[in-house]
């Protein structure tokens, strides 16, 4: 059986849903028995991106907002690789949103997994594009003025053939199933995972 763990212990806060996503990925990689030499995971910057250190696979811990273009480049360079991009709502729906749309339009066969905690959590809790309107955060003391982005609806509008799903980390088995579906589906995949940030997201519950 292939070992997909680097041996480095995760550093997320106790109770963080990022552990569910990590476990889901470990289970799925093991179940699908992917060729480890042909599997590349590209991580964004953020709490969830820190998964880079905990996984044993070819990887790139890229830049904030830039995990998707890096993943697209890798897939274009070698279409035989399984390519997964993992990041947060801040990186993927904020700074990297145009990359998400471009990849969905290209219908390129990669899987994008988003830990959507509706916050910039690594930087201690500023608002992100998916923070509900009116929510008070460190960067929006009077409440978020903008309407929250609906990522799955957006991507389905851009590419009707894309596999785009929203799953809550409170249901880990569904997370596993959705990951398996996304990684095996040929074409573009967006897995938007509802993720609780226990340290900065209590007002969002």
């Amino acid at each position: 059986m292939t070992n997909w763990r680097s041996g480095i212990a995760p550093t997320w806060c106790p109770g963080c849903h990022d552990y569910v996503i990590f476990a889901g990925l470990q289970n799925t990689l093991t179940k699908l028995n992917l060729d480890q030499d042909r599997t590349v995971i590209v991580y964004d910057i953020g709490c969830i991106g820190n998964m880079a250190d905990f996984v044993k696979a070819w990887g790139v811990h890229s830049l904030h907002g830039r995990c998707i273009p890096t993943a697209v480049g890798i897939k274009l360079a070698n279409p035989e690789l399984n390519v997964i991009a993992i990041g947060g709502d801040g990186g993927i729906y904020g700074e990297g949103l145009s990359h998400l749309i471009a990849a969905a339009r290209l219908n390129i066969d990669i899987t994008v997994i988003v830990a959507n905690n509706h916050l910039y959590s690594l930087t201690t809790g500023q608002s992100s594009p998916t923070t509900p309107k009116g929510t008070k955060t460190k960067s929006t003391p009077k409440g978020v003025p903008s309407i929250a982005l609906m990522p799955v609806e957006l991507i389905k509008t851009v590419n009707t053939e894309a596999n785009a799903e929203h799953i809550d980390c409170k249901e880990p088995l569904k997370v596993n199933e959705a990951m398996e579906k996304a990684i095996t589906h040929k074409g573009f995949n967006l897995l938007d995972l509802e993720q609780l940030c226990v340290s900065f997201g209590k007002q969002l519950k």
């Binding site: 680097s6 480095i8 480890q36 030499d37 042909r38 599997t39 590349v40 910057i45 820190n50 880079a52 250190d53 044993k56 696979a57 070819w58 990887g59 790139v60 811990h61 890229s62 830049l63 070698n78 035989e80 690789l81």
Partner: protein, 188 residues
């Protein structure tokens, strides 16, 4: 690597020599990438160890920074060198960069006292070769030609070396230089 271009250059076309295929193949074979059965690696934008895993210790961070800085020497060897046109004994040196080159060379062809001029085209901006200051300072009169409003190259040169320009020819009306304008400004 950041490739600095400008509108005038990017709207033009030119022939180039064939790329060095042998060199490319050699680089390709040396790449550490998935699918070739090599030892798995994490490419990491954080400070990292040999396998690519993040390191956060003060000592390790400093070591990684020192390693990066030590590459400057090698980069200086590889970075595009300056082009010096004309005699290194000329009285006056024109210093410029980017797409002004064609217009400057054309203007010099038309100048009556063309032997008085040499022209230095700077192509590698950072790291900046310290030898550039020796080249420029060997000339008595130094003339800066730039296609921008704030003399960006001068700002860069002055931040790294002691250089004073006798004359500055700047154009910033959204158009490239024409040789006649440079000729006129030089004669001014």
């Amino acid at each position: 690597m950041i490739l600095l271009s400008d509108k005038n250059l990017s709207e033009s076309s030119a022939n180039t020599k064939d790329f060095n295929k042998e060199k490319e193949e050699k680089i390709e074979s040396q790449k550490v990438i998935p699918g070739k059965g090599q030892k798995i690696k994490l490419y990491n934008s954080y400070e990292h160890d040999d396998e690519g895993f993040s390191v956060e210790g003060a000592e390790e961070s400093k070591k990684a920074m020192d390693l990066r800085l030590s590459k400057v020497e090698k980069i200086l060897e590889a970075i595009p060198k300056v082009n010096l046109y004309g005699s290194d004994r000329a009285k006056k040196l024109i210093v410029s960069w980017g797409s002004t080159k064609g217009a400057i060379l054309e203007a010099l062809k038309e100048m009556e006292n063309k032997e008085d001029y040499a022209f230095l085209q700077i192509k590698g901006m950072w790291p900046l070769d310290p030898k550039i200051s020796q080249i420029i300072n060997a000339f008595k009169e130094k003339i800066l030609v730039e296609n921008n409003a704030t003399a960006q190259l001068e700002t860069l040169l002055k931040s790294q070396m002691t250089i004073g320009f006798t004359k500055k020819i700047l154009k910033y009306d959204g158009r490239p230089f024409f040789p006649e304008e440079i000729k006129e400004a030089l004669n001014d």
